[in-house]
Amino acid sequence: MYDAVLAETIRLSGAGGDLIEGYLARPLDPAPRGGVVVIHHLPGYDREVREYVRRLAVMGYNALCPHLYSRVGEGISHDDAAAEVRAQGGVPDDQVVGDVAGAAAFLRTLSNSNSRIGVIGHCSGGRHTFLMTTELPIQAGVVCYGGMIVGEPVPQFSSMVPLVDRTPQVSCPILGLFGNDDNFPTPEQVDTLEKALTDAAKDFEFHRYDGAGHAFFAPDRPSYRVEAAVDGWQKIGAFFARHLDEE
């Protein structure tokens, strides 16, 4: 088996045709494969999200994380860029949709692309992933403890509006992974989202882990829960294999 992977920073066309940064990892094996857009969390385009990108490539997918804060400027550290964006109230959903659409288009241009695209995100990236399932022609979405899909808007973040009312527009299968000790979203908010998806007859599966709270996938944080994370990665692998691999 040829298992070489190339990981590098690239430029891609994002919302409004803006040239933005992205982190791409792709298997060099020419066999056709799906692509995965990774949406980073609100604290930014950090080392750990790039680890996720590389892991997805090792799993066999072309993976790309668009730097949603690229417009802050060249050469700005990810945490300074995140601080700047936070002080401005976050990035608008429409802009994120355009950046993710640009990343998906980039992945589809790769010579080993089978044109099937999944999106995955944690935390606020989980919320953005849910948004993408309603806005973009993708084949799979993985929502890892996405908060503010259900809930009350935060006045300081006018762009961060709840999305559950858009459930009828969900156009692809969703995998949801949640911790039962989480407060963002709470188990009750996950119940609300689950009911909305059920009522709308959408294709989805949720898994909820006892003893796990927010950010249980993050290996560099005390919130890491090894059993939930290992099982969650298995679920992600099976889900993407089902929806992104050649039929």
Binding site: H41, L42, P43, I76, R86, A87, R127, H214, S223
Partner: protein
């Protein structure tokens, strides 16, 4: 996802980082995942000078317990200062 509760305010003063001082004009206060502290979430303060760009920033990440203790100390110290000294600035 975090609380997204974020406060921004103008401030007057200076902050030191990396061996040099920065005259700060703005502060952002929020509760979110830290970049560096070993904690799930922290109370974060960015002391900023946006006129000099996004990198003109001193970031602080404190556990909630530490942040409360710091806030109480600030009020305690300020409360002990005579009014006329405060008025002099």
């Amino acid at each position: 996802m975090c609380t997204h509760t974020t406060e921004t305010l103008p401030v007057t003063g200076s902050a030191k980082s990396g061996g040099s001082w920065l005259r700060v004009t703005d502060a952002t206060v929020y509760f979110d995942h830290p970049v560096h502290t070993s904690a799930g979430h922290t109370l974060n303060i960015d002391l900023r000078r946006p006129a000099d760009g996004p990198a003109a920033r001193v970031g602080i990440e404190l556990t909630a317990e530490s942040a409360r203790a710091l806030a109480e100390s600030i009020f305690s110290v300020l409360g002990a200062v005579p009014e006329d000294v405060l008025a002099q600035g």
